[in-house]
């Protein structure tokens, strides 16, 4: 199973096409979407760097926010020095200092953490990150206290970096180069050793390798690129505070990696980009977006344990030469089931949210305690009418009723397609 990964000609075409689209994006996107795209790229790099430790070497780090934050604060201090004319350092090279901070922290912290494996490793990394999280708000000189540090991007190389488009290309450049480096690393003997250690550390040690040193190195490289991502975030936001070290931030990258698919190379980047975009869009639309995000996490963990990337890889691997048309009807059916259930759940949650909100309670008080109709996405609903609640219940029931059918049709299509591909 463990052969050196290579890129086929077809994948190369797809990659070049993808890069071309990424490079052309700022020409068509609105400024706020460019900003969202920057955050998506940064999240993608963070997830790629994390998955070097997790996916390749099997080290479940639960404290990667430490290196992300240290990279960000290192970059902020450098930018501040440039702003105060203490130092002349071109803005495009600011992420280098994030890489350095991540690497140093990765070597020091990693040396301790990699003495343990499995759950204990996760706990050491968690403790290190929580230590920073609890220290940072009181350590004014380094982390700027609770308010954090803010600074300005300085123009360099005839580029002002005043608008997001410049920052976008700066971020894109660093993310692509870093992603290529991470990919190249998986192909080196050291990268193969990381996979071998994940599969069976005892055997690697019996072969004469110093596994502690090797694990420290892999962890430090992962931390280094995490530092780059953190520095890019600092460049984009021009500010940061101690919350960047929170366990939530560490957990987020783990989740994004697994939603994207920890077993594939680009899957984590995809998962991170998708989830960042989802958070951005839904947090503007509804106050209960964290609930939906939690539901997605749970559903993906339960039903798609290999993640989006794993799903795509499965299709690419097993269905070579099979007729895609076979899947149109089953997948449309699956999509319909998903849409129905989502629509019912979202309507129910949003209705409850409106009905329990302070604004609605005030409306009722104004109406003398009577149950007044409420408004949701432009329509008016009566909370006491069974029709209103059937809008939430009926789609869910309908979706649930269609689920076995969609499942059976999909399985049938898969069976036939695999049969066809093997023939």
């Amino acid at each position: 199973m463990s052969t050196v990964p290579t890129i086929t000609a077809r994948q190369l075409v797809l990659i070049v096409l993808g890069l071309a689209i990424l490079a052309a994006l700022p020409l068509v996107l609105s400024p706020s979407l460019v900003n969202a795209a920057i955050k998506m790229l940064i999240a993608a790099l963070f997830a790629l760097a994390f998955s070097l430790a997790m996916g390749q070497a099997g080290m479940l780090s639960f404290g990667h926010s430490a290196y992300y934050g240290l990279g960000a604060f290192a970059a902020l201090h450098l930018m501040k020095a440039v702003e105060d004319h203490v130092l002349a350092w071109p803005t495009p090279f600011v992420p280098l200092v994030g890489a350095a901070a991540g690497l140093v922290a990765g070597i020091v912290f990693g040396w301790f953490a990699t003495q343990r494996t499995g759950v204990y490793f996760a706990m050491v990394t968690l403790a290190l990150a929580e230590l920073l999280f609890t220290l940072a708000p009181t350590w004014n000189s380094l982390f700027g206290g609770e308010s954090g540090i803010s600074t300005m991007r300085m123009p360099s190389w005839a580029l002002s970096f005043g608008n997001d488009v410049h920052v976008y290309y700066l971020t894109l450049g660093w993310v692509v180069v870093s992603a290529w480096c991470l990919w190249a690393f998986t192909r080196t003997p050291m990268g193969r050793l990381a996979v071998a250690m994940r599969e069976n550390e005892h055997r690697v040690r019996f072969l004469g390798f110093d596994t502690h040193l090797a694990r420290t190195l892999v962890f430090a490289i992962s931390a280094m690129f995490t530092g780059v991502a953190g520095a890019l975030l600092a460049v984009a936001n021009e500010a940061s505070n101690y919350t960047i070290f929170s366990a939530q931030a560490s957990a987020n990258v783990v989740l994004q990696t697994f939603i994207g698919g920890a077993g594939t190379f680009l899957g984590p980047a995809l998962g991170a980009a998708v989830m960042t975009f989802f958070a951005r869009v839904t947090s503007d639309l509804t106050r209960s977006w964290l609930l939906y995000q939690g539901l997605i996490f749970v559903l993906v963990m339960l039903f798609v344990p290999d993640g989006i990337g794993g799903l795509i890889a499965l299709h690419a691997r097993r269905l070579r030469g099979a007729a895609i048309s076979r899947f149109v009807v089953p997948y449309l059916l699956c999509a319909a089931v998903g849409l129905l259930i989502t629509a019912g759940v979202v309507f129910g949650v949003e209705s409850v949210y409106v009905l329990l909100s302070d604004a609605y309670v005030a409306q009722r008080r104004a109406a003398g305690g009577a149950v007044v109709p409420y408004r949701l996405v432009g329509w008016t609903f009566d909370p006491l009418s069974p029709l209103t609640w059937s809008l939430a219940v009926v789609p869910v029931l309908l979706g649930g009723a269609l689920l076995p059918l969609a499942r059976a049709r999909t399985l049938l299509a898969w069976d036939k397609a695999i049969h066809e591909a093997e023939r």
């Binding site: 997790m54 479940l60 639960f62 301790f112 003495q115 343990r116 499995g118 759950v119 204990y120 996760a122 706990m123 050491v124 968690l126 403790a127 290190l128 929580e130 230590l131 609890t134 220290l135 009181t138 350590w139 000189s141 380094l142 366990a247 939530q248 957990a251 783990v254 989740l255 697994f258 920890a262 209960s288 964290l290 609930l291 995000q293 939690g294 539901l295 997605i296 996490f297 749970v298 963990m301 339960l302 344990p305 949650v349 409850v352 949210y353 329990l356 302070d358």
Partner: protein, 313 residues
Amino acid sequence: MEFLVISTLNGVVHGLLLFMVSAGLTLIFGMMGVLNFAHAWFYMIGAYIGFTCTRTIGFWPGLIAAPIIVGSLGVLIERFMLRRVHRFGHAHELLLTFGLAFIIEEVIKLFYGDFPVNYAMPSYMKFAAFTLYGIDYPFYRLFIGGVAILIFAVLYVLLVRTRVGLIVRAATLRPAMVEALGHNLPVVFMGVFATGAGLAGLAGAVAGAFFPTGPSMGVDFGTLVFVVVVVGGLGSLEGALLASLLIGLFMSFSVGFDGSLADLLGLVGLGDWARGTGGLLTLQLSTIAASTPFLLMLLVLLFRPAGLLGDRQ
């Protein structure tokens, strides 16, 4: 002297509270090896159930309802979710429960709002147990400590002295053997998980009446409960109690202690150098009280990975 006595008392009570919250996780994480990130959120549900019960059926029924409801929730989560992802490994369990923590917090915010609710103990429990140095010491703090000690005693007897406890302990060490002897392992694990979750629910209903009951309860204890279990030693109930008390005392003493590393170095004549260096060395100990549990966990993991009273890794 006053500082010493008050800090010790507060530290012990805080430690016992910590033990009450993490006792269930000692079973779930320590014995079954399930990284249940949502444990502190179970504690939060318990507090909200307690709050709802005081409004409807009373305070004491709430203390019974909370563990039962949260325990049943634990059964559902174990049976229909955790068991499915168990074969994919620790990471999936952790992430699943992390997603659950999100859902729990948001559903509670949906129904109870973003701000702490007014969950109060019955008025007849609001009295001072004794007066120390002119300060009334609330009886309820002693009540919390008492419930924690009761939980410890019951769990200890259950695990060490009964047949059920024998099977549970054997199942964590030699699952295949226990199964071969005819015990229904999945049911045993489900029971352990439900008990652990129920204990968190009870802790929430008891402690929530004294400490603020709000949507941040989960985050406040989220990682701290793992510290207790790891420092105490996986699966060791006595270890968890010892670790909780240690952490409680550490935190209460460092909060009230005025001094920094520089002052300590001053004793050996390095004070001026340390103050000149600044940074970590001049931070007041009281401001880094929140860090001490994680420092303790780090030291334990590096030098005694089995935990203070654990006997296996």
